[in-house]
Assembly symmetry: D2
C-alpha cells in the first residue's frame, strides 16, 4: 500500500456539497414562514429558463440564509441536460446577459482609455469527468490577452484582453489552488477574475439543471474535511465572479435523503421518528458503512451521460463568457470567433 | 426536444444489476441454512486475493442459486482498486491461471496440429467511463491473428491466433451486440469467445474488488427493461467465457439499501417494519422520485477515481489474457510482448 | 524486442496514399492535353465551396484516369479547416445534398412501403488522431435502427433506420475490416453502406480542404504493402458509398515532392535533371533513409491543430449524413435532433 | 475568418527546432576538426542506452557550440520507442541517476534540517499529442508537498515535498508561460524547478530516441517567430533543470533535409551545387510553398504511434523523477508508490 494511496484521497474532486443561494433562501423562507429582511429576490421567466436574482444586502440577510453579502443569480433550465443546440445557444445568450450584469466594466477599467484584463479560471480536476467542467470551458474560450498586447489596434477593436488558467486540484499540484491563482494574479495584474467550478449538489434534482453566478467568489466552506483558502475579492484584491454548475451528488447525500424520506409522510408515527432522531451517530455511521462500504465518501452519483453533459455545458458557458466580455461579439456573429 | 433524447435512453451503459454467482450462492445458503445440492464450492486464499470456484453441476443447483449450469470463478482482492503495480502483476497472473482452467485448448483445436483461434470481445460503451472496461482491455491485448496468418512459422511459435472487437452498445450502433458478434463469428470462425464486460454491482462493497470468470457466457437477464439476446455457446455455437468486473452501482440500488438498512437492527419494532413492508409500490415509487429526481434510473454511483481505476483493471485483465492464451508468454517475460 | 513490435507495424493507420478522382482526372487531362473520353465533369461554385462531379462512364474513361467506373464528387473548401461554425453548417448542408444525389432511396427500398436500412461504417483507428475521422463521425450520428424497430409509428415518421459500426483496423482486431463489415451485413441485412475514412493525401495542398464522395466503395489499391479486400457493391452485394477526407501526408511523399521540386524550374539543366532521373533506386533509397531515419514509412505529416480539425470535420460529415438520410430533418431543425 | 484563426497560430505547440547539445557539439567538432576548448565530454555505454555528459565550462566553450555554460546530459536509446516494459524500467532508473547528478540537494536545502521543495513543471499543450509530454508526466508524478505539510512525520520520512503544474501554452492562456511559473514560484517558494518539455528535433533520427537533461533551464532561442522569456536560474532565482525529448520534426526541416541531401554525394557537380546555393531566398520560399502548401510552418512530422509513444515516455520520465527525488524510493519498490 503506497503513499500514492494517500494522494488518492486528494486527487479526485474534493467537492464540498454546495448549497445554492436559491435553495438556502427557500429553506430560510420555509423556516421563517415569510420574506427575509435584507434579502431581495427577483424572478424572471424566459422561454427556456427561469432566472432568479438574489441580492443579500446586509449582515442580517447574510445570517438568515447563511451566504455572504453579495449577488447570486441562478439560471434554471432542463434544457441544460437536453441535446437541443438551439436551446443551448439561447442558454449561452441568457448566461452572457446575467454575467454581464455582474460586471461593471467602467469601474474595473485600469485607465479610462484602457480595457480591463479578465482572468478566467477553470477550477477542477480534468482527470475526473464530473469535475472537469472548469478545465473544459477553457477549451472553448476566446483567449486574447497575448494578441491584444502584440496585435495592431485593428485587431484589438471590439475585443477585451482575456487570459485563462486551469490550475488543477490540490491532489494534482500539491499547492492550494488559491495560491496558484494568487501568484498568477500578482504577475499578470488582471482587473477581474471569473472562476468556473463544478459543484456537488445537495439534491439530485439540481444535477445539470442550474447555473449559479455570484460576485462573492468561491469560499470553500467547512464541507467535507479541511477548509481551503477562499478565492474572492478579499484574498485576490480584485473582484471575483464565481460560476458554478452542480454535476454530482455525494452518495452519502443520497443515503441521507433516503433515510429522511422514510421518516416523512404517514409511514411512521411522530414517536417512531423521534426515536430514530435519537439514534446515536455511531449507529448511523455503522449503517452508512453497511450501505456505502469501503469507499464511503469516495462514492459519487452522476448521470450516465455525464461525459457528454460536461462537454455541452462547457460550450454553453464558454460561449456566454465570450459574448459577455467582447463588445463586438453578439449571439449572431459569435461563430465568427469560435 | 429531439429524437436524440430517445437514443440517449440507450446510449449510456444499459447495465443490469448483476448478481455474482458467489453472492447468489451465499444467499441460497442463508435461505436453506446449509450446503446446496448440485453446487460445489472450492475456496483458495492467496497472498493478494481470495479465489472461489463455484461449479453448478445440475438443474437442481441451477434452480437453487438462480444461475445456469456451469463454472463460476471469482477473484476477490482489495488490491484491484489499489495503486500497487506489484500487486496488479500478481492479480494478472492469478487471473491468467483461473482463466486458463476454464479453457480446454485441446478440445477447441480445429485440427490436432492447429492452434485454436480466440475471439476477445470488449463489451460496453467507450464514451461512458465506468462502462469502458471491455473496450479498454482491447488497448492492451496482444492481437495476433493477422500476424499468425501472414507471418513465417518462427513468428507463430509460442503464440495463438487472437482477434478482438469492441462492438459498442445498442445505443451507439442500433444493432444488438449479439448480432454483431454473431456476424463476425460466422466470418472469422473462431473456436472460443472471451467476452469482457463491466457489471453493475448489487452492493457498493463489490465495486472494483472482484473479477468473475464463467463459462456460461453472458445472458442479459430481465434486469432493467428489455431482454437482450444472449452471448453464449447456444447462440454462438462455440464456447463463450465471460469476464466481468463490477464498476458501478445504480443509485436506485443504494436508496433501496438505505431503506432496508433502516429497517434492520433495533431501531424499529417488528410491527413497524411490517407496516413499511406493506406500503404500496406506488408510495415507494413516489419516495424514489423525491430522492432521485428526474434522472431516476439514469443515475449511477461510482468511485471518484473511476477513470484511473478502469485503466488499471483493464491492464490487469489484458495482461492475464495474454499470458493465458500464448504458451510462450510467462509473467516473467510478458513485458517482452507488451 | 517483442512481437508487439510486429503488431505496431499494423496498429497505426495503414493509409495508402489516395489519389482523389479530381486529381487523377486533372493529370490525365494534362497528359492527353484535352478532355477524356468516357469521363464527364461538372463543376459548380458555391459561396463557401467548389463542387466537382466526375462521372466515369465506361472502361475507356476508367483506364484513362485509373479509377473504377462510377461517380466521384469532391467538395473543396478552405472553410473545412477554418473555425467558423456558420461555414461548417453550410458545408454540412452542401455535403448532405451531394450525398443524397448518390443515393436512389426508391431503388434500395426492400419493399415499396418500407424504408431502406442504412449502415454507416466509421473506418480507421481511434487511437491515431489523424485516422480517427471515421470513428468520430459515429459520435455525432443519429443511430435509429433500434428505435425504428421498437418504437411506435409516430416516432418512426420522418426517420430512416440507421445503424453504425467502427470496426477498427487490422492491427487492433486481427481481422480484415471488410470481413467484419461483411459479417455484420449478413446479420443485419442493410440496403446501403456509407463508409467514412481518413485518406493520406498525395500533396499537402489537399490536407483538410476536400471531401470526396463516390459510389465505387473503398478498394484499397496496391499502395503501401499488402492489398486488403475491398468494401464495395461487389464484395458486399449492396451499394457502397465512400466518403473520404485527406488528413495526413506520408513524410515520404513530402520528401519526394521536395526532390521533384528541385528538378523543376530553371535551377538545373535538362541534362542534370536527366542524370538524377537515372540515379539507381538503391541510391534514392539511401537518401530517403538519411532524411527520414529509422521511422521511414512510419512518419506522417499533419497540421498542428489536427485534433481539433478531426473533431470539426467529423461534426460536418455526421450532420450532413443525418440531413441526407432522414426526410424530416432539415438544416433548420437539425439541432432538434443533435 | 475569426480572431480564433489568429489564436490558432499560437494554440498548437510553438516549438522551436531545438539543437541538442550533443549535436551542437558534434557539429563544432566537425567544423574545428578537433576537440573544443572549454567543453568536456564523457561518454558511457550501458546495456540499453548511451549516456553523454557534456560540460560547457566557460564562455569560449559556450561560443564554440552555441550553448550556455552548464551541464548537458543526453540519454540515447532506441528502447524509448520500443514496447518493452523491462527496458522502460531500466531507462527510468538511468534517467533518475543522471537527473540526481544534476541536483545538489544539500546546496538547495532551505535549512540544514529541512528538505528542499521541488517544483515540477510540465510544459506544452495537452491538446496537441506530440506536445503533451510535459502535462502527461504530471499524471504519473508523485505529488507530495500538501501531504508533507499536513502529514505526520512518519509519512514524511523518505519523501521530499514535490509540487507540480502544467501551465499550458501562450495560445491557451494568453500569458507567457514563464510569467505563470514565476508567479507560482513567488507564492510557493520552491528550491528547485524541473521543467519537462517536448522538443522539435532538427532531424528525424532524433525522434523519440533521446532524453536531454540540462541545468541551464529553458531559453526559447530565436527559433521560429517571437522570442519568449526564459525559464532559468536568472529569471526564477532558483536552479532550473530542463528535461527535453524530441517528439516532432517540422515539415520545413524535412524539406530542407531533402534538398540538402540531393546536393550531397555524386549526383551533382560542385558547380551545380554552388548554383543552387545561390538561388535567391524568394525562389526557395516559392519552392517551399509548392511543397508544403497553405499550412507551411503549420505542418509537423511525427511517428504514426505518437499517442502511445508519449504515454510510454511520460511514464519513464515520471518514474525517474520519483526515484531521484525521494530517498526511500528505489527501482525495486517504486511500484509501492505508483
Amino acid at each position: 500500500m503506497g503513499y500514492r494511496e494517500d494522494l488518492l484521497q486528494e486527487v479526485p474532486f474534493p467537492l464540498e456539497t454546495h448549497d445554492l443561494a436559491i435553495d438556502a433562501h427557500e429553506l430560510a423562507v420555509q423556516r421563517t414562514g415569510g420574506e427575509i429582511q435584507g434579502v431581495s429576490v427577483v424572478e424572471e421567466r424566459k422561454e427556456v429558463a427561469k432566472i432568479t436574482r438574489i441580492h443579500v444586502m446586509n449582515e442580517h440577510g447574510a445570517q438568515a440564509i447563511g451566504k455572504p453579502i453579495g449577488k447570486y443569480t441562478t439560471i434554471e433550465s432542463e434544457g441544460l441536460k437536453g441535446q437541443n443546440r438551439l436551446v443551448h445557444d439561447q442558454l449561452s445568450e441568457i448566461f452572457s446577459e446575467e454575467l454581464a450584469m455582474m460586471i461593471d466594466f467602467d469601474q474595473i477599467r485600469p485607465h479610462p482609455n484602457m480595457e480591463p484584463t479578465i482572468f478566467v479560471v477553470g477550477l477542477g480536476n480534468w482527470n475526473a469527468t464530473p469535475d472537469a467542467l472548469g478545465p473544459q470551458v477553457l477549451n472553448h474560450l476566446m483567449v486574447t490577452r497575448h494578441l491584444y498586447m502584440e496585435a495592431p489596434p485593428e485587431l484589438r477593436k471590439g475585443l477585451r484582453p482575456v487570459c485563462a488558467l486551469a490550475p488543477g486540484v490540490l491532489g494534482l499540484t500539491g499547492v492550494q489552488t488559491a495560491e496558484i491563482i494568487k501568484g498568477v494574479v500578482e504577475m499578470v495584474k488582471p482587473n477581474l477574475i471569473i472562476a468556473i467550478d463544478s459543484l456537488a449538489a445537495h439534491h439530485t434534482s439540481r444535477l445539470a439543471n442550474t447555473i449559479q453566478i455570484s460576485n462573492t467568489g468561491i469560499a470553500p466552506g467547512s464541507g467535507i474535511g479541511k477548509v481551503r483558502p477562499a478565492i474572492n475579492q478579499e484574498t485576490m484584491n480584485i473582484p471575483v465572479i464565481a460560476v458554478g454548475v452542480p454535476t454530482v451528488v455525494h452518495a452519502i447525500t443520497i443515503v441521507n435523503d433516503a433515510m429522511e424520506e422514510m421518516l416523512r409522510g404517514e409511514i411512521f408515527s411522530k414517536v417512531e421518528r423521534e426515536r430514530f432522531r435519537h439514534v446515536e451517530e455511531s449507529e448511523k455511521k455503522r449503517m452508512m458503512v453497511n450501505i456505502l462500504g469501503p469507499f464511503m465518501g469516495g462514492l459519487v452519483v452522476s448521470p450516465k451521460g455525464v461525459d457528454e453533459l460536461i462537454q455541452d455545458v462547457s460550450r454553453i458557458i464558454a460561449g456566454g463568457i465570450n459574448i459577455a466580455l467582447h463588445p463586438d461579439i453578439t449571439p449572431e456573429n459569435i461563430s465568427l470567433y469560435l
